[in-house]
Symmetry: D2
Subunit: 301 residues, 4 copies
Amino acid sequence: MPLTPEQLAEIAEARGETRPTLRATSPGMEAQLYIAHPVLDHGLVRVIDYMGDDAAITQAARVSYGRGTRAVSDDEGLIRYLMRHWHSTPFEMCEVKFHVKLPVFVARQWIRHRTASVNEYSARYSILDREFYIPAPDQLAAQSTVNNQGRGAVLEGAEAARVLDLLREDAMRSYDHYEAMLAQDGQQGLARELARMNLPASIYTQWYWKCDLHNLFHFLRLRADAHAQYEIRVYADTICRIVRDWVPLAYAAFADYRLGAVQLSARGAEALKRRLAGEVVTQESSGMSKGEWREFVAEWG
Amino acid sequence: MPLTPEQLAEIAEARGETRPTLRATSPGMEAQLYIAHPVLDHGLVRVIDYMGDDAAITQAARVSYGRGTRAVSDDEGLIRYLMRHWHSTPFEMCEVKFHVKLPVFVARQWIRHRTASVNEYSARYSILDREFYIPAPDQLAAQSTVNNQGRGAVLEGAEAARVLDLLREDAMRSYDHYEAMLAQDGQQGLARELARMNLPASIYTQWYWKCDLHNLFHFLRLRADAHAQYEIRVYADTICRIVRDWVPLAYAAFADYRLGAVQLSARGAEALKRRLAGEVVTQESSGMSKGEWREFVAEWG
Amino acid sequence: MPLTPEQLAEIAEARGETRPTLRATSPGMEAQLYIAHPVLDHGLVRVIDYMGDDAAITQAARVSYGRGTRAVSDDEGLIRYLMRHWHSTPFEMCEVKFHVKLPVFVARQWIRHRTASVNEYSARYSILDREFYIPAPDQLAAQSTVNNQGRGAVLEGAEAARVLDLLREDAMRSYDHYEAMLAQDGQQGLARELARMNLPASIYTQWYWKCDLHNLFHFLRLRADAHAQYEIRVYADTICRIVRDWVPLAYAAFADYRLGAVQLSARGAEALKRRLAGEVVTQESSGMSKGEWREFVAEWG
Amino acid sequence: MPLTPEQLAEIAEARGETRPTLRATSPGMEAQLYIAHPVLDHGLVRVIDYMGDDAAITQAARVSYGRGTRAVSDDEGLIRYLMRHWHSTPFEMCEVKFHVKLPVFVARQWIRHRTASVNEYSARYSILDREFYIPAPDQLAAQSTVNNQGRGAVLEGAEAARVLDLLREDAMRSYDHYEAMLAQDGQQGLARELARMNLPASIYTQWYWKCDLHNLFHFLRLRADAHAQYEIRVYADTICRIVRDWVPLAYAAFADYRLGAVQLSARGAEALKRRLAGEVVTQESSGMSKGEWREFVAEWG
């Protein structure tokens, strides 16, 4: 459980007092504000602030389209049109700020998304907590034998137990030594900016992460994808549910045109058209490589 | 006067209804929301939405500093510290969206600031209004004789009158012809995306422009500067006053450490230290070029 | 013809002298360096500098994949794999710098691509040339009657002649007055930063524009698209041909997976699968809106 | 020593063959290409590719200034002028790509600079090497007692020995267990994307990092600064020396106007002017806080 009673009280207090505003509000997002969604064994995601709603997207689009937009008067239709035709700038008009607690190896993947603002807990300045990610048994997976970058079957029995023991013991020992090096009783105590390097990538850090909706969708498309590592995907899945509450029309368009979409190469589209015309298409006649053909068949049979 | 009665009514309506929110609010910014600040002869700036306040900056900084921050407990002191030491990321945690109406030649300078989101009125899609920037008499300046990129004395008498006539007449004629080319009575009518190219850079356009506070400060430092062209500076000055109401502590730190700051090169700092020690420093002995020395003397006498 | 004999001589001189380098070179791009490709009536595109080649992409990818990549040893296969799976960062490892001369209304669309570096000819600082874009007869199109943002039939006869006359005369008159306002014989002369506002958006400007290959592909996908305005599309088409010479493998993958690709929404993919299974799918049973269905049928019959 | 004989042979081979190019070359940078500069105990920096030289900066600036620039005809003067007046875009016209080997905790600071392109060795895909950063004795520093974010005196004697033992032993044990978990003899072997989380932040990773000169200067200003952590500062210092060879005029301007510059707040400038006028200024009469005054006195006495 990632939250202390003090933290829960703080959240309750933050949610206890509303203020009047002239800004647009999203009822679905007001219901989310400050609430901690647990992720993994000690992680969390919660919304700290947001700006804009579905109407902010169409309002920005209508500045672009001016008088001409009378025809596209329906908000849902306009949002779907914008998403379908990659008119991405109106989606940048919404902004959200999350508080995220996450293992360092997940943070290292996450930070690769550059179009966002971040303030991370500084281990130069402060001492990290003794919290480490230890996979749940059903996520303790073997190396995939077909995908260099993926997981295979779940480990079982003695091997699983041994791995969990190693992860736990090394984490605890590293943290014990971290504390021992920092200690100032009877010694000077190592600088925090040095001592932290003894800690493994399974340790939890936290940050504030702020992003606009367009770039958030890009993040979600890549990280809520089946090829993303499980430990970041669960964060992306949690954020998907939050975004669905925040901007339901935009999220539905995103789900249809991005998350659930299928990209066909020129060769793939050609192959499908030949199939629709009744032709039998083979890898050879498609012009695709073996890898491409395998992925094509996985989708289209 | 840039606003129609309909537009004023729309603003009054938007300001007439408050909604409850659990988010942080800035009282100074709530007072600004939607209100149109006139700029130049037909331009305006108004706040459409915002996120965060002074406390959002220190809150983000304290995530970074964690437990270590007890010492820097004062918000004003922390914000000044962050600004002084170029810790810019906490300032990115505030966001603002403006509606701006501005001449095209000003828009062309403004858009050079890339770290922002923009939705501009599209003249491919819609027809532009007959509104052009005509300088007020006190801004009708001659080319500077010392600065290739600046203004000199104000034009007077016949020359001023002639310039104003040319600007007005060419603008009106271009717009007449724009309309004539677009007209569909008795002819097909030229495509809007082509007809617009007949319009001069003095025509007004409008956009939604969204930016975080750090990047807004960067914009303001460059555009509220005395070297910026007057026609963009008046927009920057207006935004400065809005930001002062929004985040008074951050704005005060910005005014002290950026807007009013003096940058000394290594050579300049050396020259000042020698002066403080009682030495007389000349251009030759300073190691500065003539241009640098001129700027140094302009600041320090 | 956009180039003077002096400019042609300058290009010939730049191409006359090779220097030895230890860097990777692209033979196809060396053949392109400095050469001016005419675009529109007075515009041009030419390569001023570049960095990297196809091998720079796979080299960067192999840093990522380390020892694991032995299996994907073929450069072409690896590049296609990266493009297919949206692994975009290796494509950022190539960079190119263009000199572009283009009408201002095209520059205004182009600059919306923010992930690039630009130095534009400054009309605050210098005087613009008397060069305006006047559409060729086959591009003098009427407003589309079905697409608010597009072109319809070509104008003919008297209407075409009238439009061309208006564009030409207004451009010439505006430029005459621009010169008259700037003139310093017998008067002070208006500041250049003000006088320029009298010039229409058809006037040519020029800039240096630098971009990495990933972001260039994004630009090309949007601007070489059939929905882009003709006047920017011809620039994108020219750049496509240059990029094909520079990085032939990456360009071929881009052509297959982006330029020629077909994006299917979840609903669209579902509809196609039902069709492949022999079912007749209608708009109603597809769940698509009329607009989406129209676009779907346009692609898939 | 970070390089194997194979790697040295590879570098020698890469440096053995020049190719002709029509591009601008920088002799100082050609001498740097591919050569590995050792940093820390196992790290390195080396230039893999570059684009542009000092002349590329002034060439881009002259596109901006057009005919107007005849007056600023000297390259050095123009570069110093651009740097002094924060005209940053011409510096973006140069680009450089480094291969860097660095400890993970340094990589985590480095990656905060978002305006750059990165391809990092993937520990999802590949197995990391057994290489860890162990501080040299003179860098084994105690926590600063005055700066929450800095180092104090060097540890000595038994405490130093104990710290070094802990760092070494924990690193070796973590790596032993990493290998044991990955091993596939007699067991399935844990997925690489999971096993890596057992490794401490002292482990070395490597990446290709590409950046333009303006953003590189920004990185260097922050990371070659005395307040930066030693372990990233040594990388920045190494890059400073490389950049000095690459673009000597731009680097000299950077050293004078950024690295060695002194920023004065409005209050600080006021205080200095009063001092120059012979007045004795105290903290109270300066309007500065204690912290600001301390920093002011540290610079100005």
